[in-house]
């Protein structure tokens, strides 16, 4: 194979309004693969921990036209799905694809690759001495993964590299659907399967992974078209409303990355320090020069642990005399709470956490906020996380009563210190999580942790 063309879209973004035209254009472009990312930890640990995701209906609407295109033109598709990409989310998305098969009257075969890590398997690897190191030197992460961390994670996933997908491409199927996966691996896999250069494959993945966000104007709900040859990659827009320019493509290459030249990946890093970009025509950019540098193979593991149960309340404060004293008033609530009969047995920072955010004043930057003068209005968000829901609710009730009725200096109002947005004022949000596993696992076999299953759609009824 001398050239390979990949159409890329993002599957968790709402469907593009112009989709019929896009698909119409794409039908005549001799596309070899359709790749689409739908996993990421940008949204924090909540969805991983709670086994939830954004609207599956949105996912279904979004992938339907691309799956129809793929089946019609016999193009293999490779999707990572489910945001956090655990098994619960993967199965929900698989059900949506199954519904598409039924509704469209199509039969097709999928390789499903789980991104969720079996806890017992991981424990045995750790016990056998497989090294794990935190991916980031941070006080919020332990240096390496202990057995207790595996037990206390609700779910653990891993960003699979391209290798399990390359294996799946050897099978006679119509598409591949994965759980949590390395975004660029979805694009590297078909390139590597057809023996293209690894550095160029990774750079192509890096440009295509957010679809139309790499174009100008950047919009990830638009797809993007990429092509790889022996020594170059080409990128262009499909929609007439966007263009690929040297600036848009080269600047996207450094989006969300700490270093604009090097990117760590499983088994090596991508070095684009010597990449050159050429404007081939008004809507096509080519680049060459990316290098892949081999390193020992590691897989990034992500685990979410429950921090506690979260309740919130929202208030509006407009009275200038109250705004003048609000900082002290809020500190005094915490002081009173800590010595109160009902709460003194609990420890702040261990059993519970309370955060006051004063929107309109310094909620975004806290002490770093350069503007120090009092605003005319404050939106007060009270965020309580406690070790169980009863304690969280009770703490927040105490705080609400203080905010409503306690006196302060120069008060004109009798009670009703603030405007209450919701009644009842306490909103139960649910569990709050944090990443307790964000580690690199040193492993020899890139396939070992990922369970692969062949699935025929529609599912056969029992």
């Amino acid at each position: 194979m001398k050239r390979l063309k990949i159409l890329s879209f993002v599957n968790h973004i709402p469907l593009n309004n112009n989709i019929d035209n896009i698909i119409g254009e794409a039908e005549n472009l001799d596309i070899d693969y359709i790749c689409s990312q739908g996993t990421g930890m940008d949204f924090g640990p909540y969805m991983l921990g709670s086994g939830t995701q954004f609207s599956v209906m949105n996912f279904k609407n979004n992938v339907r036209p691309y799956i129809k295109l793929a089946l019609k033109k016999k193009i293999k598709f490779i999707f990572s799905v489910g945001i956090a990409g655990g098994d619960i989310q993967l199965e929900e998305c698989m059900s949506a694809v199954n519904e598409i098969a039924i509704e469209e009257g199509k039969k097709f075969k999928i390789v499903k690759i789980s991104g969720e890590i079996n806890k017992d398997h991981l424990k045995s690897l750790i016990q056998k001495g497989h090294k794990s190191t935190r991916a980031v030197k941070s006080d919020f992460l332990k240096e390496s993964i202990g057995i207790e961390d595996i037990d206390s994670s609700e779910h653990i996933v891993s960003q699979m590299g391209p290798e399990p997908i390359v294996e799946a491409l050897k099978m006679d199927v119509d598409g591949i659907i994965t759980g949590r996966a390395l975004d660029i691996g979805l694009y590297m896999a078909p390139c590597l399967f057809h023996n293209f250069d690894k550095g160029l494959s990774a750079h192509l993945g890096k440009i295509l992974e957010c679809a139309g966000l790499a174009l100008t104007p950047g919009d990830p709900s638009d797809p993007i078209l990429g092509e790889i040859t022996k020594d170059k990659i080409f990128v262009k827009s499909i929609s007439k409303n966007q263009k690929a320019t040297i600036r848009s493509i080269s600047s996207h290459s450094m989006y969300e990355r700490d270093n604009p030249y090097k990117e760590k990946n499983p088994g090596g890093y991508l070095d684009i320090g010597n990449s050159k970009y050429v404007q081939e025509n008004s809507n096509t950019v080519s680049t060459h020069g990316a290098k892949w540098v081999e390193e020992p193979y590691t897989l990034k593991l992500e685990g979410a642990k429950i921090k506690g149960f979260r309740c919130i309340s929202i208030f509006g404060i407009r009275e200038p005399n109250f705004i003048k004293v609000i900082d002290n008033f809020l500190s005094e609530i915490i002081e009173k709470l800590e010595v109160s009969e009902q709460f003194k047995k609990y420890k702040y920072d261990e059993d519970y956490f309370i955060t006051f955010d004063q929107y309109g004043k310094n909620a975004v930057y806290g002490n770093l906020e350069p503007h120090k003068s009092d605003p005319h209005e404050i939106g007060l968000l009270v965020d309580v996380i406690a070790k169980d829901s009863k304690l969280a609710e009770n703490l927040l009730y105490f705080i609400c009563m203080e905010l409503w009725i306690k006196p302060y200096e120069n008060r004109l109002t009798t009670a009703g210190n603030c405007a209450t947005r919701f009644a009842p004022p306490i909103i139960n949000v649910g569990n709050a999580f944090h990443f307790n596993i964000w580690h690199l696992l040193h492993i020899r076999d890139p396939l070992e942790l990922f369970k692969t299953t062949t699935v025929k759609l529609p599912y056969e009824k029992n």
Partner: protein, 102 residues
């Protein structure tokens, strides 16, 4: 003297995994870019005091001459995976940089 916000075409902040914030600044014209680069105001000491972090937590400062861009990456004091993080995507941390004068 001019402010970065007056010269930048794009000035964005974004998470680079939950533990880092990365800032990308793209300039409209060569002169502004050269002026900022030669002013030497973008250094580890200045960035660390601007964001109240340790100097060693300024992970990288990169000037990209070919696309008139500057990238700065810092470690977050509160990672966006922690419950009291105020900006989950790190998408609104650019103001202090935007207001810098050179």
């Amino acid at each position: 003297m001019k402010k970065i916000r007056e010269c930048a075409k794009t000035l964005r902040s974004k998470n680079c995994d939950p533990f880092f914030t990365t800032f990308d600044i793209f300039f409209e014209n060569q002169e502004d870019y050269n002026d900022l680069k030669s002013s030497n105001i973008i250094n580890k000491n200045k960035i660390s005091s601007l964001y109240s972090i340790k100097e060693e937590d300024v992970i990288g400062i990169y000037f990209l001459d070919n696309i008139l861009a500057l990238k700065v990456t810092i470690k977050k004091d509160i990672p966006s995976s922690e419950p009291n993080c105020k900006d989950v995507f790190g998408a609104h941390q650019h103001i202090m940089l935007a207001e810098m004068e050179f």
